[in-house]
Amino acid sequence: MSLRLPALLAGALALAACTGRTPLDAAAAQAPAPAKATSAKATPAFAPPPESAIPDGPYGDMVRQGREIFLHTRRNAPAYVGNGLDCADCHLDAGRLADSAPLWGAYGMYPQYRKKNGHVNSYGERLQGCFMYSMNGKAPPLDDKVIVALETYSYWMAQGAPLGAKLAGAGYPRVPDPARAPDYARGQAVFERDCALCHGADGLGQKAGGRYVFPPLWGPDSFNWGAGMHELDKAAAFIKANMPLGRGGLLSDQEAWDVAMFMDAHERPQDPRYNGDLAATRKAYHDTPMSLYGRRVNGRLLGAQPAVEPGGEP
């Protein structure tokens, strides 16, 4: 009984979400982002200061510079970006939006020990990781203006937040385990219905005026096999909360897992830590069921023929 009720409730909510597709429910249009079952005590709430509060002067200038790098990374930090993405593609509203891995939720959590590289990482080193993997580029030196500006922007946004506390809305909200194992074919159906409109039928994004407007989900201009987004739980969490753009929460949990599986079962640029042996690289860096790297899906050994020759932009 006690287990059955939540399941039924979830079913009812899913139905409500489905009926919200068409015709438009005017009330739903006004609803804020879906509430999360989080304890207010364990996860303090936080709201970043408004951008109008960025001060004048050299400090404020650096905050603004960080914001512009974050919004238009390819344009403003071209030496360190190797694909068609900007930071703000995966961290919406210039890194301000709750449940979209906001910068204010990350800044106060560093320095932090990370299993990914086996040592304590400063916030700057964490940013370097974004450039190496998510941006498929090069790590800016820690004293480079790109890192200093992004750190300053993050610090400004996190002012007043408790240090070392996981805040409500930090990261991407975990999606409960799916009832059925994530499935490529079901994910493809979700992709075609709700994603292809913007990301293109081929998933390679769409450009206007020679520049990406909609980011590529795979292929040579997308994030590489070392990026967090290539792991199913992280991708499902981002997608569920934030996609389609402006309509986060539209997909069911199962649909989010399925379409994450579909996206992450496509080739993308090689993990820069690749040591010449796919299985050994998987063992060293991707030894989790959430990674399809080095796994065979639909007859394709993922990571064996990584996407190369980034098309880039003029």
């Binding site: 438009l24 509203d93 206007a208 407007v213 402006g246």
Partner: protein
């Protein structure tokens, strides 16, 4: 001989439409559809003062879908619905293709709204506290348009853009994929709508990307 005949047969409808489209635009079809150019201009540039939109250079797929949706009633308009219904499917395709190939006329120059105004902010950053993405995130930088699903906003008459946002808000236009516009438009106030419409009206259009 056979091959030539096949080519002619296959090409015939296209030739007819290629020939028909300028006539449709200039004179109408004589069956209830008046000349397109009487409102949208001989160059397809529209009439900003009257709020008639530019069609020149818009994606053919977008234009054809709008005509189909006018006819079906998912995009309501007292003038365009009867016109779309008076056009046959092949005529809709023909005029859509015709306009998509016209060069984009230079827009009238007017005052450019402030960079830090409400319109600019909605256009370039959105208002995520109400789940409104930046217009540019789908319609491209400066609203130049992206593919056949996200039409250009740049240089369109402010009155037209404003009317569309109001139509989305009020459900008179409901032909948007994933209901993206119906959802976000309802978060906007009348002042927001006016501001963002005027911002895009002042932006410079480009030829639509294929």
């Amino acid at each position: 001989m056979h091959v030539l005949g096949t080519v002619l047969v296959l090409a015939w409808p296209w030739l007819v439409h290629a020939a028909d489209a300028p006539a449709l635009v200039r004179e109408g079809n004589g069956r209830g559809a008046p000349a397109c150019q009487s409102c949208h201009g001989a160059d397809g540039g529209g009439q900003p003062a009257a709020g008639f939109p530019r069609l020149a250079g818009l994606a053919a797929g977008y234009l054809e879908k709008q005509l189909t949706d006018y006819a079906a009633g998912t995009r309501e308009h007292p003038v365009m619905q009867p016109i779309a219904r008076a056009l046959g499917a092949t005529e809709r395709t023909a005029v859509a293709t015709y306009y998509s190939r016209l060069p984009v006329p230079p827009p009238p120059s007017g005052p450019v709204p402030a960079d830090d105004g409400v319109g600019a902010t909605l256009a370039t950053r959105g208002r995520w506290s109400q789940r409104v993405p930046a217009c540019e995130q789908c319609h491209g930088p400066g609203g130049i348009g992206v593919g056949a699903n996200f039409p250009p906003l740049a240089g369109q008459p402010a009155a037209y853009l404003e009317a569309q946002l109001q139509a989305w808000q009020q459900g008179r236009r409901r032909n948007d994929p994933l209901q993206l516009m119906q959802h976000l438009s309802r978060a906007l106030s009348a002042q927001d709508v006016s501001a963002v419409a005027h911002w895009f009206a002042a932006q410079r259009p480009q030829g639509n990307t294929p």
